[in-house]
Every structure is written in C-alpha cells, then in structure tokens.
C-alpha cells in the first residue's frame, strides 16, 4: 500500500492542514516528503498519522489483501461466465474503490473495470475506460499490457471488427510462444475465425478451448464452445459432428436448466437442418426456438426470418408473406437492416421476380458487401444475378457477377 498518498488523500478529505496533522508526530517538511512518497517513513510514524486521521493501519493492510483477492476472484468469475457473481464482486470492489489507487493493484483494477464494461456490452463506457488506460500503458507490467491488448481485441469483436481482432490474437499467440492455456482467449479467437468465414480454424481453436473448459469444469463456457463448434461444423458441411454438438447441447442445457440458451440452441439446430435441406425439421426447430424467445430482439429477428424463408421454400407464400412482413417491421424497430432488406427482397420476388432482382442489385448486394457478409452467402446472390442477366442475354453483366464468385 502506498501510505504517503493515502495519508494525503484522507488529510485533504477531512480538511486538516499539514501543520495540524504533523503536530507532535513529525515535522511538516517530513510529512510533506512522506505524502509525496519521496521519503520512506517508519511504521510507527505512519501508524500515528493514520490514527490521527481515524484510519486503521491494520485495516488498510487488510484492504490491500482484500483488493488482491477480489480482483483474482473477479478474473475467475469472468472466465467462468458467472454473471451474478461478477456483479457482486464488482460492487464490493466499488465500495473500496477510493483506496485502490493507493494499492499495488491500481492498473489491474482499471483493466478489470474495462473487462467488466465489455462483459456488460457497455461499449461507449468501455471506450472511455480504454482511453484512460491507453494514457497509462507505459506504466503497465508485461502481464497488464497483455490484458490490455486482449481486452482491446474483445472490444473489437463486440464492434464487429473481426479482422483487427484476429491480428491481435495472432500477435498474442506468437508472443506467448503458442503456449497459451487460456481457454477464454482461444474461445474468443474461435469466435473471430468463425465470423471471418474460417471455419477450419474456428474448429481448431474451439476444440482447444473446449478441452481446457472441460478440465476446469467451466460449464457455461463448455456450452458456449459447443454451440460455436456446432455452427462451425455446419458451415464446414461436417453435418454429423454439428448434429452431435447440438444434441449434446440440448441435453445439457435442459439438465442445467439453462433456459436462456435453449432457444438459441434450437435455432442453430434449425440452421443445421436448413443447410442439410431437411426443410420441415428446420421449420420445427425454428418455431420451437421462436416460441421460447420472450424478447423481440436481434435473435428473435434472425429466427423469424428463418421461418419466413422456410415457408417460402415450402411454397406457402401466404405464411412466408406474413413472416417477412413481421421481419420488416421488427427490422425497422431494432435498426437491424440485413434481415429487413432480405425480407423485402422475398416480398417483391413473390409478386415480381424481375423487380426483385433489381432490388437485390441496387439495395441488398451493396449493403451485404459493405457489411462483409460470409462469402458463401454473397456467392449465392451473385449467382442469382448472373443467372438473371444470362437469361436476359446481358452477358457482360452476367460475367461481371460470375467474376465476383471467382
């Protein structure tokens, strides 16, 4: 504990002058030097000064230990994704926040605060915290610097800047001589790889993370990693493995009464069945997922759109229309454009395929290209337009879209 600045803090807070505090204990210049940390004071002088300030020396020593153990706990709870515990520990740290700057854990605390804000998805507050930390980064230890860069990568994932996050993970991995045993980092890197359409890498890092989480009995992260692996296997067309992951998930989520995850698992099982062309099974899972989603948020929108698309495939145009209209409305409410644009495309296509192609070219494709959609999805739309122009004998346009596929 840095007692000098701590004494200054409490003296100022209580409105006591240096003369009043030093009286009978030490000289004023001596106190001044102690407060500025330019002179080491003996334990007895410190005790007397603290006593006059009505601050207990032993209590301060205990607080130092408490800060250390709370921070350690906090890191663990984050890794284990224990939401309620994270809140409790963070609130306890908040209660003693005023003494943390005088402890040896000042930077660790500020770093964990950054992590906490990211965990809560409070991105603008997290950015402000990142800026504060950035100014202090030359004072960081090697481990603190590692945490700072890692959390910056997590922030980039949350903002959808996966390429930049990938570069940071790559550097961190090389710097730690590939010996990283941090399941959390591997899980995050797998998420990034999956978003970048590199399913093979996502499976590799996901499996490494899963092994670590299983050794730690880290149940929530096991479920999350299994879900990510299921999606990555689906995208790699390794359907059998994906099926195993999702079945495992359904069993365990039900067992653990993890009801928050069930709708997502059912949706992803529907996604798998959809990719396998098991249209009716896909519809059943999507509907099951939707019925369990209480909030009309992004996940709800994604499932709703999936149901609309399946009904379209089944040529049930009335139902498809009904769902796509709901998607359009929710897309406007939530400001999530992708599904809204695609629903519009299908709605136009039901009445006029010709007009729908124009809409695809002018509205949908520029948006999807801008938001760096998965290559496979883009190929599908390029093919559609290429075929459309081919039919119209507009070969130059047709080749233009074909060349985008190459």
């Amino acid at each position: 504990m840095e007692f000098g600045p701590l004494i200054k803090f409490y003296r100022t807070q209580k409105g006591i002058t240096q003369k009043e505090l030093a009286a009978g204990i030490c000289s004023i210049p001596h106190l001044s030097k102690i407060e500025n940390n330019s002179k080491d004071a003996n334990g007895e002088t410190i005790s007397l000064l603290l006593e006059r300030l009505e601050v207990s020396f032993d209590e301060m020593e205990e607080k130092e230990e408490l800060i250390c153990s709370l921070l350690k706990d906090f890191g663990e709870k984050i890794n284990f994704y224990l939401r309620e515990d994270i809140e409790i520990i963070f609130n306890r740290l908040k209660e003693i926040e005023h003494v943390i700057p005088f402890s040896a854990h000042m930077y660790s605390y500020e770093l964990y605060k950054y992590r906490y804000l990211l965990f809560k998805g409070l991105l603008s507050e997290a950015d402000a915290q990142r800026d504060i930390l950035y100014k202090q980064k030359k004072n960081f230890s090697q481990h603190e610097m590692y945490l700072f860069r890692y959390y910056n990568a997590v922030s980039l994932i949350l903002k959808g800047h996966h390429k930049k996050a990938d570069e940071i993970f790559d550097e961190l991995f090389v710097e730690t001589n590939n010996e990283t045993t941090n399941g959390e980092l591997l899980y995050h890197w797998a998420l990034v790889k999956s978003a970048l359409d590199q399913s093979g890498h996502a499976i590799h890092f996901g499996r490494l993370a899963l092994q670590i989480f299983m050794n730690q009995h880290n149940f929530y992260r096991i479920l999350h990693t299994l879900m990510l692996l299921g999606i990555s296997y689906t995208n790699s067309k390794v359907y059998e493995e994906a099926h195993v992951c999702f079945n495992h998930l359904i069993r365990n989520a039900e067992l653990l009464k993890e009801e928050r995850m069930l709708p997502q698992i059912y949706h992803n099982m529907g996604y798998l069945q959809d990719k396998m062309d098991n249209v009716k099974e896909a519809l059943t899972y999507y509907e099951k997922s939707l019925s369990l989603q209480p909030l009309k948020n992004q996940n709800y929108l994604v499932t709703l759109y999936g149901i609309g698309e399946i009904n379209y495939k089944l040529s049930d145009m009335e139902k498809a229309k009904e769902y796509f209209l709901q998607v359009k409305e929710l897309s406007k409410e939530t400001g999530i454009k992708k599904q809204g644009l695609l629903a519009d495309f299908y709605l136009i296509h039901i009445d006029s395929p010709e007009k729908a192609m124009k809409y695809l070219e002018v509205k949908v494709i520029p948006y999807l290209e801008g938001s760096k959609e998965h290559k496979e999805d883009m190929i599908r739309y390029y093919r559609l337009l290429s075929e459309h122009y081919n039919q119209q004998e507009k070969y130059l346009e047709a080749v233009n879209y074909l060349s985008k596929i190459i």
Binding site: I78, Y81, L118, F119, V154, I157, L158, H188, L191, S194, A195, L223, H224, T225, M227, L228, I231, T234, M261, Q264, H267, N268, G270, Y271, D274, K275, A282, Y286, N299, V302, T303, Y305, G306, E309, Y312, K313, K338, L342, H349, P353, D377, R380, R383, L384, E387, H388, N390, Q391, E393, Y395, L396, A398, V399, N400, L402, S403, I406
Partner: protein, 50 residues
C-alpha cells in the same frame, strides 16, 4: 491485366456454352435460379462473447 484475361475467358466460355436462347435453356436457367433462391440464407445465432 490478370482480371481482364479472366473476364474475357469467362465471357467467351459463357457465350460458347450458351447456344440459342431457346425454351430449353430458359428452363435450365429458371431451375438454377430456383435452386439458388431456395438455398438457406438464414443466419445462426452465435454464443455470447462475454
């Protein structure tokens, strides 16, 4: 330059592979378009970043 060659090559292939625009070709194109439009495009739901 490389892209221009690929484009030219693709164009010639396309023209060669496309005979007269008879009813049959039209049907094939329609089938391809139908297959493409019916491909699954829904997104998965990713687990939380945390």
């Amino acid at each position: 330059m490389k892209k221009a060659i690929i484009l030219l090559f693709s164009l010639s292939l396309l023209v060669l592979a496309t005979p007269a625009n008879d009813g049959n070709t039209q049907n094939i194109s329609n089938v391809v378009a139908k297959v493409e439009i019916n491909k699954a495009a829904a997104d998965p739901i990713y687990p939380p970043v945390g």
